[in-house]
């Protein structure tokens, strides 16, 4: 496979092509010195070059054209690589800021469009891996491309496509019935923005009494509405559907509290879920954005641990609570960089071979040969 450092310079190849065509059309007469010119006087003068006839260009011109060709290849930075083209893994950032408008589309769509157009132009197959919190540094490889809106650190090996991130005013976070908003002048609070229908959490299953009462207190403090069925809830709390008995062999240990528990069927952890509490290496509390699932069907706190228990579970609820769609954190709304597009080197530097030196040497030798032939022919 051929690669060029400066492909535009290949246009210089037109020069020898034009010269050869011209020489084939109008041949250059070789000068021959003679003191016997009178012996040629009775020969028919050559008027043939004016006719449409093709001639073989002289050797010196062929050598010159070859020298020019080699010099052009050297100037254009000819490189070759072995092996078939491999697909490019695009690590795409799908954090909320990627949905901010950019021109007629969003940051994500604009960046994706740029990558897709490049891949079609270069004939590169793309494999997409999208995440709201991509671990870019794990993919700093020649066969990867990072796609985001702004990044503090750029890759060393991977390609990079940044849509650019200008300041994006808008809601930052909900608090109670109101929200904090970033505008052109700073951050201000807008009260009474969210009605009760948009502050609902959905609770399903039989919650242990201690957790149930704690959740009610937390909802009151957060001004959230607890219900058993809600449209677009800010949090889904799911516990086992039926109560069970305490198991004296099973204990749940928090950071500063402990309890005897009864555990229903084991939870199957989803990719985005994070285990917060375990009983005998079995996750009993899984949280993700907008979801909190637990397999606890009974819980009886040990003495003197209620405060620590409340703090840890309240933290788990807050961690699982999602913001309304329009609320995006201040870090993402800040201006943090311009657009960048740096195509990846699909093949690592060790696998590439540069032919610049060989081409330059060949050009020099051919140029010398052309001079020699031209001088010899006079």
């Amino acid at each position: 496979m051929l690669h060029w450092q400066s492909p535009l310079l290949l246009s210089a190849l037109l020069v020898p092509l034009v010269l050869l065509l011209w020489a084939a059309r109008y041949p250059v007469a070789m000068r021959q010195w003679t003191s016997l010119l009178f012996l040629w006087k009775d020969q028919a003068p050559s008027g043939v070059p004016r006719q449409w006839r093709w001639h073989r260009p002289p050797l010196a011109l062929w050598l010159f054209a070859s020298a020019w060709l080699c010099a052009t290849l050297a100037a254009a930075g000819l490189e070759t690589s072995s092996g078939a083209a491999q697909p490019l893994l695009v690590i795409a950032d799908r954090s909320p800021s990627m949905n901010f408008p950019l021109g007629a589309s969003t940051r994500y769509q604009a960046a994706r469009q740029q990558v897709v157009e490049w891949s079609e132009r270069e004939g590169v197959e793309l494999v997409w891996q999208e995440s709201t919190q991509p671990n870019f540094h794990a993919f700093d490889r020649y066969d990867c491309l990072w796609l985001s809106d702004a990044l503090a650190e750029h890759p060393e090996r991977a390609g990079l496509c940044l849509s650019g991130a200008k300041l994006q005013p808008g809601p930052l976070a909900r608090e109670g019935r109101g929200r904090w908003v970033l505008d052109g002048n700073g951050i201000r609070f807008e009260p009474d923005v969210y009605p009760a229908t948009s502050r609902q959490i959905e609770v399903r299953g039989q919650l242990p009494a201690a957790i149930d009462s704690l959740l009610s207190l937390w909802c009151e403090e957060q001004q959230l509405i607890r219900s058993e069925r809600a449209d677009a809830p800010l949090l889904e709390v799911v516990f086992p559907m039926s109560a069970c008995a305490l198991d004296p062999t099973q204990r749940l240990n928090g950071q500063a509290w402990s309890a005897r528990v009864g555990v229903a069927a084991a939870l199957v952890q989803a990719v985005q879920e994070e285990p917060l509490l375990r009983v005998e290496d079995q996750a009993v509390l899984l949280v993700s954005r907008g979801s909190l699932r637990s397999s606890l069907c009974q819980l009886e706190l040990d003495e003197g641990a209620s405060a620590a228990f409340a703090l840890e579970w309240a933290a788990a609820f807050e961690r699982a609570l999602r913001e309304p769609e329009e609320c995006v954190g201040l870090d993402e709304r800040r201006a943090s960089g311009a657009a960048v597009f740096r195509p990846p080197n699909l093949v690592g530097p060790r696998e590439r071979r540069s032919w610049v030196g060989e081409c330059a040497l060949a050009a020099a030798l051919l140029a010398l040969a052309a001079c020699g032939v031209a001088l010899r022919r006079g």
């Binding site: 000068r31 021959q32 010195w33 003679t34 016997l36 040629w40 020969q43 050559s46």
Partner: protein, 289 residues
């Protein structure tokens, strides 16, 4: 008329000590051979000789010295031809240094200069005085080995350029009217080279060596060629094919034969040689061998 100036391929002359030794050896060998043929020895040293007088035949004399014309008329009193060295004789060596002599390779002027060097040494070996002439240089007289460096410098200063006007040649040759031997080293590309022979003095021996470059003897085989005369700048474009090249070679040979025949009628030894011929060949041809 302005004379065009070209950067000719072999305009200069370059001689070295090796060439000088070679020319001296060639001249010495030739002088010794002529001395033996004359049948007279001078204390073992051989030199150039010319007819001096007759002496009666004596037994044991070299039969090559017998004048057979006289013997045919009087078969009882055979006469031997006694020769003497050519002391005081004058040899004129004319080198054409016009632009056409700058063609080659090998350069025609270079070939002529090497030949002139050997001729000058031969003249010295035979006790004669060699006068070297060209149209564009002041003449040089070479009489002794002491002036060998001057001879080399004079030859190396030659440079093929300009034209060879007939008047200039006649003027040069007029100075050699009293020379016993005249050597013309040229390509005889002048408009009428045979007119030069009119300058010949009665009794003088003339030798013409016509030097041509290999590219003049054989035309290129094919392609569009631009034949250029280095003296006039005149040119002729010809699209050559192998047949035309062959026809040219034939015309060239015919011209040389005709030229030599005309020289022979004027009692002038003439030869045509390639500038690529060896010095020995050029030397012998220049001497009319």
């Amino acid at each position: 008329m302005s004379v065009p100036s070209f950067d000719l391929p072999c305009a200069g002359v370059k001689l070295d000590s090796a060439m000088l030794r070679r020319a001296r050896a060639l001249a010495s060998a030739r002088a010794a051979r002529q001395g033996r043929e004359a049948g007279v020895s001078r204390g073992g040293s051989q030199a150039g000789y010319e007819f001096e007088r007759y002496q009666p035949y004596y037994p044991g004399a070299d039969p090559r010295a017998i004048d057979w014309d006289l013997a045919a008329r009087d078969d009882e009193h055979w006469q031997l031809r006694v020769r003497r060295p050519e002391d005081g004789a004058r040899w004129q060596i004319f080198l054409d240094d016009s632009a056409s002599m700058g063609l080659g390779p090998p350069g025609k002027l270079q070939a002529a200069a090497e030949c002139a060097l050997a001729l000058a040494w031969l003249a010295r070996a035979r006790g004669a005085r060699a006068e070297l002439w060209s149209v564009h240089s002041t003449p040089l007289v070479f009489e002794s080995a002491a002036s060998a460096s001057a001879l080399l410098l004079w030859l190396e200063a030659l440079r093929a350029h300009g034209t060879l006007a007939d008047t200039a040649v006649h003027s040069v040759l007029a100075h050699g009217r009293r020379a016993q031997r005249v050597f013309l080293l040229s390509d005889f590309s002048a408009p009428d080279p045979l007119a030069w022979l009119a300058s010949r003095a009665r009794g003088a021996r003339w030798n013409c060596l016509r030097l041509l470059a290999p590219s003049e003897l054989e035309a290129p085989q094919h392609g569009l060629q631009r034949f250029v005369d280095p003296e006039s700048g005149e040119e002729r474009r010809v699209e050559l094919n192998p047949q035309q090249a062959q026809a040219y070679a034939e015309r060239q040979r015919n011209f040389s034969t005709r030229w030599q025949a005309q020289c022979a009628r004027a009692r002038v030894h003439a030869h045509t040689l390639s500038s690529a011929a060896s010095l020995e060949q050029r030397f012998e041809c220049a001497l009319g061998a």
